[in-house]
Symmetry: D2
Subunit: 375 residues, 4 copies
C-alpha cells in the first residue's frame, strides 16, 4: 500500500501507513503560510481493504468548523467523485473510513480542478466567436493570469468583472466559472445573448494558479491571502491582485463577483456590501435586485444563512468585493459555496459538487442579466 501526492494540487503528510486500519496523516500547510485544510492524495494497493485514515491535526486546520458534517470526496477515475459517508470529526481528528473498490483511489477535500483543465477551459474560450483571452499579468511563479473577455468593448457595454479562486483550495469556484462560461458562450441561449449585447465581461477563472498547483488552501506562492490584499496589493508579493486591480481601473467596473467556497457553512450565500463605507440606499436596491434574481434562478442559493456582521473588522476594505464596492460604488458581492453540502437540498451521494457548482454558475447569468436590465 502506498500514498502519493506528487501531482497538481496534491497535499498530505503521511505519518504512518503500517496499518491500513490506522493510517496516520497530517494536513499539510500552504507552501509559504500556516494555513492548512486542503488535502488531495492517492492511495494504491488497497482494493477491498477496509481503510481508516486519521488526520491527526485536523483541529489545527484553518477552519476547524469545517469538519463537523463534512464528508471526504473520493474517486477512482478522477471524473466521478462521491462522498465517503463514514467521515467524522472526533477529538480534534478527522477520521475517514472507506473500503476502496479498486487498486487506485483518490481522496480530496473537494473535487480538484487542475491547471491543465484551467488551460483547456481558457483554450476552449479562446476559440469561441464570443470571447478572447489575454493575460492580466504574471504570478510569482510565472504563470499567466488568464482573463477571458466576453462581449465587445463598446461605450454602451457595461464592464462586469468576475474573479474566482483567490483561495486556491476553493476549487468549486472554478467549476462555477466553467458552468457560467459554457452557458455564456452558447450561441442559442437568450440570457447569454442579451448579456453579450449589454456588457463586456472580464472573467479571471483562477486568480491564484500558483497556490492551486501547490495544493494550498488560502495563499499564493508567497504565502499571501490574496483576499486581504486589495487595499494595498504588492507587485512582488501579491502581483495577482496588483495586476487585476490595475486592469479594473483601466476598464472601470459596474458589477463585481468574487467566487469562493466556505469551509464551515453548509449553504450557498453572498457576502454583501452593506458594511462598506458609502453604501447607499440605491446601492442596497441594486444589490437586492441581483440577489432576488439569483434566488429565483437557483434554489441552491439562499439568503437566510451567511456571515455575521462585523466578521471582517478592520480588514473589510482589504477584501476584493468590499474594496471594489468602495472604489467603484457598484454592486459587488462575494459568492460562497459550501465544501460540505447545501443543507437545504442535501445530496447524500455527492454533497455539494462540481456539477452543482456548474449549475450555479449557469444560473448566475440570470442574476447578471437582471442587474444589467435593472438600471
Amino acid at each position: 500500500m502506498k500514498i502519493s501526492h506528487s501531482f497538481d494540487s496534491g497535499a498530505i503528510e503521511v505519518l504512518s501507513l503500517d496499518n491500513p486500519e490506522d493510517i496516520r496523516l497530517r494536513l499539510r500547510a500552504d507552501n509559504a503560510a500556516e494555513f492548512r485544510q486542503w488535502f488531495h492524495f492517492r492511495v494504491q494497493g488497497a482494493a477491498g481493504r477496509s481503510l481508516r485514515m486519521v488526520f491527526e491535526n485536523a483541529s489545527a486546520a484553518a477552519y476547524p468548523d469545517g469538519w463537523p458534517e463534512y464528508r471526504c470526496v473520493a474517486s477512482y477515475d478522477r471524473r466521478n467523485w462521491f462522498r465517503v459517508a463514514a467521515t467524522r470529526y472526533e477529538d480534534g481528528q478527522l477520521i475517514v473510513e472507506h473500503t476502496p473498490e479498486h487498486g487506485s483511489v483518490y481522496y480530496a477535500y473537494f473535487e480538484p480542478y487542475s491547471y491543465e483543465r484551467h488551460l483547456d477551459l481558457v483554450g476552449w474560450a479562446e476559440t469561441s466567436p464570443f470571447a478572447h483571452v489575454d493575460s492580466v499579468g504574471s504570478t510569482i511563479e510565472g504563470r499567466e493570469l488568464d482573463r477571458i473577455v466576453v462581449g465587445r468593448e463598446a461605450p454602451a457595454h457595461r464592464p462586469v468583472w468576475i474573479i474566482a479562486r483567490q483561495h486556491p483550495g476553493e476549487t468549486m469556484a472554478e467549476w462555477f466559472i466553467e458552468g457560467l462560461l459554457e452557458r455564456l458562450l452558447d450561441a442559442a441561449d437568450p440570457v447569454a445573448r442579451r448579456i453579450r449585447e449589454r456588457a463586456v465581461l472580464y472573467i479571471v477563472p483562477n486568480m491564484n494558479p500558483d497556490g492551486a498547483i501547490h495544493g494550498n488552501l488560502r495563499t499564493n506562492a508567497a504565502g499571501r491571502n490574496l483576499n486581504r490584499e486589495w487595499r494595498t496589493p504588492d507587485e512582488q508579493a501579491s502581483p495577482e491582485v496588483f495586476h487585476v486591480r490595475n486592469a479594473m481601473e483601466a476598464t472601470g467596473c459596474e458589477l463585481f463577483l468574487d467566487i469562493h467556497g466556505d469551509e464551515a457553512l453548509p449553504y450557498v450565500f453572498f457576502s454583501t456590501a452593506e458594511e462598506v463605507p458609502g453604501f447607499t440606499a440605491e446601492s442596497a436596491a441594486r444589490q437586492a435586485r441581483l440577489v432576488a434574481a439569483l434566488s429565483a434562478a437557483s434554489p441552491d442559493f439562499q439568503t437566510e444563512h451567511g456571515y455575521k456582521p462585523g466578521r471582517f473588522g478592520e480588514e473589510l476594505l482589504t477584501l476584493a468585493s468590499k474594496w471594489v464596492a468602495h472604489r467603484f460604488g457598484c454592486v459587488s458581492l462575494t459568492l460562497e459555496m459550501p465544501f460540505k453540502d447545501n443543507a437545504n437540498m442535501p445530496d447524500g451521494r455527492t454533497g455539494w459538487s462540481s456539477a452543482r457548482s456548474k449549475r450555479l454558475g449557469a444560473a448566475m447569468l440570470n442574476a447578471i442579466l437582471a442587474h444589467l436590465e435593472g438600471n
Copy 2:
C-alpha cells in the same frame, strides 16, 4: 437531379424538375385534410448549382401570413440546419434560391423531429432514475401515446401536465420538450430537483405521432385538428385527445402547458386563459406569476405580441388549454414559438431553431417552479 420525400415527415409535390433555376413545387396537403404548409424534402445531384424553387400554391397554405419574413431551413447532414437567406414570398408564391454545397441537401419548413428520435428520447427517459414511461393509449395507426412520468405520485405532489405537438408540423414543440426533459432529469440541477420533490409531471412529447410521420401540418391520420377536439373527443377519430383527457381526469391537473408553434407571429408568447368562463382574479394572479417567471428566465419570451382576444370564438373550449382551464380551474396555457424568428432577438444564421426551442424548454422549469412555490 432528383427530389425525394419518402422518409419520416417528408412532404412535397414536384411539378417540374426540368430546370434547376425554375423548379416547380406544391405544398402537399395533410394526409386526410386540406391543411398544407409543412414541407420536407431532399434534393440530390445539385451540388454547386444555383437552384430556384417555387412553391406555387404557397398562398393556399393554412397560414399565408406565415410566408412574409419566413426563411427556409436547410441541412446537408440533418444535424446542422441553417436558414436560406434568399427566401421570399411574392405574388402568392414562396421562392427559395440556394446553391447547395453538397450533392445531397434537405429543405424543410422547420427542423424536423422524427419518430425515431422521439422513441430514443422516450427510451432515454425510461432509464432515468427520475422517470418512467407508459402509454396513455394508441393512435389511429397503432402508435403509442408515450407519456413520461417524472417524480413520484404522492398526495403532496401536484399533478402537472405538459403536452406537445398536437399539430404535428410544429416540431419546435418536441424540441422544447427535449430541452425541458434534459434539464428535468438532471441530478444536479436544483430547479429540477425542487420540481421533482413537489410535483409529478405527466409529459406527452408528441400528441400526434401519426400526423408527424405523415408530414402533416395540423391533423392526425383521420384529418382531425386535435386542438379542436377537447370538448368532445372521439374515441375513433381523435383517440389521442380522448385518451389523454381521460388520463388527466384520473390524475387531476394543477398546471397545464400545451406546446405549439405559430406560423405567422415572429415571437414567443402564451395564449392565456382570460376568456375562459370561470377565470377569476385568483386565476389571473396565478397565471401572471408563471408568466412573470418565464419572462425573467428567458428573454426569448415576451408578452407584448400575441393573439387578439376573441380569436377562437365559439371554438374556445375545444382547445386543449382552454378546456383544461375550464375543467380543472388551474393555470393552463398554450405556448407558441415562431417558425420564423424571434424578432426581438433575431439570429440571421438559424432564425428560431431546435437549439433555441430546447433552451426555452429548459427555462420553462423556472416558471413551473415559481408556480409550484407560489401557492
Copy 3:
C-alpha cells in the same frame, strides 16, 4: 400491458396478450412474400412481470435452423441491446422468457438499424472531405438508393463496390458498413488513407430500404428476393438491383463485397466464388489473398464453417456476388455474419452484435488494402 410495432422495421402478430405468462405471437410475413423470421416489437406495462412469449409459427420461419441456440435481443433505451438468455426453440415454437426491468422494452430478432439512422449515416458521409453521396436510382416506394463514393474517380483508382442489406432483416450488414465507413473516412488511419489513394469505393449501405422499413426479412416492397435478381433484374419489380447493376457497368468493378447475415450458422464466413463459371487459378489466388488478410485482421472471421458446395444450384448466377464474379472476373464475395453468436468467440451478454459487426467492417479495410496492394 400492450404490444406495439408501428415503427421502423416493427413486425409481429399478437394473438393473445391476456396472460403475461403465455403471450401468443406469430412471426409476420414480409409485406409481399411468404418469408418470415424478422420480428421487432415493443412491450409496455410489464415492468417487473415475468413474461413468457411464444412465437407459435417459428417452425414456419424461412430458416427454422435459425432457432436452435438463438437468443432474442432486447433493449430498454434502443441503444444498449442485450441477449435474453431464456430463449429456446421447442416443439416448433420459439419461447422467450424475460422479466423486464422497465415499463417499456423492445424485443427484436437482431439490433435494428433504422432508415433515419441510415439517412444520418449518409448525411455524415456527405460532409466528409473524402466522400460524396449520390443516388443510384429509386426504390419501388420512392426511396433513394444512396451510394457513398469514397476516393476520387481517376484512371489509376480501382473501382471497389460494397453493398449491404439486400436482405433487409440482416441489419448487421448496415452496422458493418457503419464501422467500415467510420474508419474509411478517418483522416489519420493509414489503411484508410492508402485505400483512398488507390481505389474509388462505391458503397451502398442499404440495398433495400423499403423492405427494411417494412420489417421484412428477405424481400423488397414487391416481394422480390433481391439476391436472386442479378441475372435479370426487373426495372419495375427489382429496381434496386437493376440500377445498381447498371451503375456497376458504368464504373466497372475490380472488387465486390456483398454484406449479409446468416440465420443458421454461428460463424462469420465468406460465400466464395469457386463455383462460378470462369473462376480460374488466378481468381483463386486473388480470392485467397483477401481471405487470408481478413483472417489476420479479425479473429471473428473464419474459414472452416460455411456453405456447402452446390447450395445455390441453378440460381447461382442470380446472386449478386456470383453474378459479379462472372461478369467482371474480379474477386467477388458474400460476407455472412451470424444472427446468433460467433461460436468461436461467444459473448454471453451480447451474442453477435452491432458493435462486433462494426469492428468487422473496420477490419475489412485491411483485407481490401491487401487486395489492392496484391496485384
Copy 4:
C-alpha cells in the same frame, strides 16, 4: 506580447521579445542534463501579428538532424494541433514564422501529453473490467510508476510488457499507448479479446513522469537517460528502470515493446535485436513474424529505413529492448515514431501526430496477436 512556459512540460528560454519579427529564443536543457530539443511555450498578445521566432541554439540540440524537414506544431485550444509550414533550419538556427489567429497560441516540439492526461488515462483503465492498475515503484520526485495490468495472471497467459516514454519528450509514445489501450479494453474487438485470453499485459504508459513534467527531452529528474540504465539500474538515480526491471523478473517476459520517438528519421520503424548476443535463428523467425504482422496491419510502419547496425556500440545491453532480449530471450523491440512526418505517407496539415500515433498503437494489437498465436 508575452511568452510563458510555467505549465506541464513547458520549456523555453526567451532572450528577446522586443520585436515580434525577431523573437530570440533558446532551447532549454533538461533539468539535470545537457540534452535539449524539446520546447513547449505559449505566446499571448500576438493575434494577427506576423511572428518570426528564432531558436538560436538549435544546432546545439541533442539531434541537429532533427531540424531539416521538421515543422513546429501549434494549437490555440490545446486539442487541435497543426504544423507551421514556415519552419526552417538555417545557419544552425531553427526559424518558425507564424501569424496566430488568436491571442493565445501554444507552440511545441510535438503534441504534448500531460501528467494530468496520464492520470486520467490510468484512472479510466482502472475502472475497466479488463484491467487494474498498480504502482511498480516511485520516481525520484515521488510520482508513481503506474502499471496497467490487462488480462488475468494465469499459467497459460503469457507475460507481455509494453513500456513508453523512457525519453519524456517523446510524447508520441504515450499517445501510442492511449490508442493501444482504447482498443485493448474494448469489449467488442476480437483482436483485443483474443489477446486478453492468451496473455497478461503489463503496460507502463509513462516510464519517466518526472522528466515529462519538467519538459525534458531525454532524462529523468536526476539527469539519467533511462534507456542507458538497463544493465545496472541505480535505485537512487534511475529508480524507474530499477523497479520495472525487478517487476519483469517477477513476472517473466515473453514479449517486450519499448515505445519511442526519433528526432531525425521521418519513418516508423523498429530497432530490432539482431545484435544482441544469443539472438538465434529462432529469435529471428519470431521477430520477423511480429514485424510482418505490423507491416500488414499498418501502412505507416515500414522496414526499409531504420538505424544502422552498430549504432549503440558498447552501450547495446544498456538499452531496454536489448537488455530484455538478452535476459529473457524473447522478442523484444524498440518502436520508433517520427517527430517530423512519415515520409511515405506525408500529411501536410498535421505531420506525424497524436491521432496517427494512436492508430499505430491500435494496429500493434494485430502484431501482438500474431506473435501470441505464432508459437
